[in-house]
């Protein structure tokens, strides 16, 4: 709105192009006045859950808009279900998705890394030196690691003690280490303090490792050293671990000296706050995190390393015209999940189209459902619905929550089956593939 001169806005109004949902497509989807967005460009950096969804829905809602997606990878591998891959329940390649469907929809794909953003000049610079202009920019760069913040855990340490918290070679390395580990060995997972990508992720991971051990290396142990005293779906995980794995999984919270302060990747040893040394056969360190580096370059991060956003639209609080979605944002109480990134993308796509048309953003609504698979027949969920209330994000009172404790086996089994179905659905909704 603020970027239009009055005369331009007036001109658009006279053309009848202003007005959210002015046209309805055959399917019932509102089409935001094609003509008003013709020639306008929205660039999206990052083709993960947030970025790919944003590009797709921008194009669906406003076919005349020029939508450019900047993503260096030709094939994106999801973090969701890497744990199932580690547990032997999934082939790695089933986690890969490409951009053909988005391209078919008319999204322009630029297979490069964006290395810098000029907010004032409304341009971004690509790794090959080229640059690209935009009218609005969406960043969905995911996370980067704070290498070295956990003593002894720098980039090179990850070659020996993988994080596998970004998918690809790291996930394969961890799987190979599990396959090579002798029966009777110990798998140690180091979990970080909040906030971090996928709050239930570490707990699903140890579940899947335990599943693999139970079926292939039953004398082995799983130790989870945690920088926190509470975690997502805690009661349900503890119940599920006991039922499925007896006492194979040991969780040590912060007050019981679970916080790791030093890593020795060569010796596969970690040291906790009060000086206890734990030795692993396979060591998986989930390091502290921050927004992907391009958010820094764009000037949208604050001292926390994450991105503060306007609650209604997810436009940066610091730099107008740049919108940020997904894991990079401070969006509590929404978790950093792929599901949330997908629904944030849709809200932000509509907000940008409204802004380009000189309209107020529509009332937002976001949802989340995080499935965790504890065993092949044992799934659990946490769900949430979010809104803006008094200028703040909050969970809609009375909605959301976790699966019931002590539920029947059939309930757990159906949530496990729905987890698989959810994966296929969100992959289709995000990249158009499964």
């Amino acid at each position: 709105m603020k970027k239009f001169s009055l005369s331009r806005r007036e001109a658009l109004k006279r053309m009848g192009a202003v007005g959210v949902g002015a046209f309805l497509a055959a399917g019932g989807l509102p089409v935001y006045g094609n003509r008003s967005h013709g020639g306008q460009r929205v660039a999206v950096i990052g083709g993960g859950f947030g970025g790919a969804t944003a590009a797709k829905y921008l194009k669906r809602l406003s076919p005349g808009l020029d939508v450019v997606l900047v993503e260096p990878q030709k094939r994106y591998y999801t973090c969701p279900f890497t744990n199932l891959y580690l547990g032997g329940m999934r082939e790695f390649e089933t986690l890969g998705h490409d951009y053909r469907e988005l391209s078919r929809l008319g999204v322009r794909i630029v297979s490069q890394t964006a290395v810098d953003v000029d907010a004032e000049g409304r341009r971004l610079r690509l790794a090959d030196g080229d640059s690209l202009s935009w009218d609005r920019l969406i960043l969905s760069p995911g996370i980067d690691f704070r290498w070295g913040e956990l003593e002894g855990y720098g980039r090179e340490a990850a070659d020996k003690a993988p994080h596998a918290w970004k998918p690809g070679p790291q996930s394969r390395l961890l799987r190979r280490q599990l396959l090579e580990m002798p029966d009777g060995g110990t798998f140690v997972l180091v979990a970080p303090d909040n906030p971090f990508r996928c709050p239930p992720g570490p707990y699903e991971r140890v579940s899947m490792v335990a599943h693999y051990f139970k079926t292939h290396k039953p004398r082995s142990k799983v130790l989870l050293l945690d920088a926190k005293d509470n975690f997502s779906k805690q009661g349900l995980f503890l119940e599920g671990w006991k039922e499925n794995y007896g006492d194979m999984i040991e969780w040590v919270g912060r007050s019981n000296d679970g916080r790791v302060v030093r890593v020795n990747a060569d010796k596969l040893e970690v040291e906790t706050e009060f000086g206890e040394i734990h030795r692993a056969n396979v060591l998986n360190v989930v390091p502290p995190q921050k927004a992907g580096f391009i958010a820094d370059r764009a000037g949208v991060t604050d001292e926390s390393g994450w991105v503060p956003v306007q609650p209604r639209t997810f436009e940066s609080k610091q730099v107008p015209g740049i919108y940020v979605i997904g894991d990079a944002t401070q969006a509590a109480p929404m978790p950093k999940s792929g599901f949330v990134a997908n629904t944030q993308a849709k809200v932000t796509a509509r907000a940008i189209l409204a802004d380009l048309a000189g309209e107020e953003p529509p009332e937002p609504t976001w949802t989340n459902t995080c499935y965790s698979v504890i065993a092949p027949d044992w799934g659990i969920t946490v769900a949430g619905v979010y809104e803006v209330h008094d200028g703040e994000l909050r969970e809609v009172p009375g909605s959301g929550g976790v699966s019931p404790m002590g539920a029947a086996a059939d309930f757990r089994k159906r949530e496990a089956a729905y987890a698989e179905a959810w994966y296929a659905a969100i992959a289709q909704d995000t990249w158009g593939s499964r």
């Binding site: 019932g28 909605s399 159906r414």
Partner: protein, 125 residues
């Protein structure tokens, strides 16, 4: 598993009938008291796509496809979820409690109006 599905479908239909009657009594016009715009309905519907596929269309994955289902069925199912009256429900009750009855009715109407299978987008310039 299959029997449960049939039982749920039957229960949902029975619920649908009961609801039609209830609503017919309360509001003969069949209109919602608080109007919910199609725009709002489509915003909510987009969050459904996460599990039910873009536009509510899915090839059999275990989660039902919802595009083009009869409005009365969708509406009564959504309201049954909201009232914890849907046998065997897992995550849906927790999600639909984030919306008003009127919003759910509008979402039901929205999906009912969609074609069950996608049509090629009309190539209008």
């Amino acid at each position: 598993m299959r029997l449960t599905t049939v039982a749920i479908a039957v229960a949902a239909l029975a619920g649908a009938l009961a609801l039609t009657l209830r609503h017919a009594g309360a509001d003969p016009s069949g209109e919602d008291i608080v109007p919910v715009s199609n725009d709002r309905a489509s915003a909510i519907a987009m969050t459904c796509a996460n599990c039910h596929g873009t536009d509510g269309r899915l090839e059999s994955t275990g989660i039902p496809s919802i595009a083009g289902k009869p409005e009365i069925v969708l509406r009564s199912q959504l309201l049954a979820f909201q009232r914890d009256e849907y046998p065997g429900a897992t995550v849906m009750p927790r999600l639909v409690k984030g919306y008003t009855e009127e919003e759910l009715a509008a979402v039901a109407r929205y999906f009912a109006a969609l074609k069950p299978t996608p049509e090629e987008p009309s190539q209008q310039p």
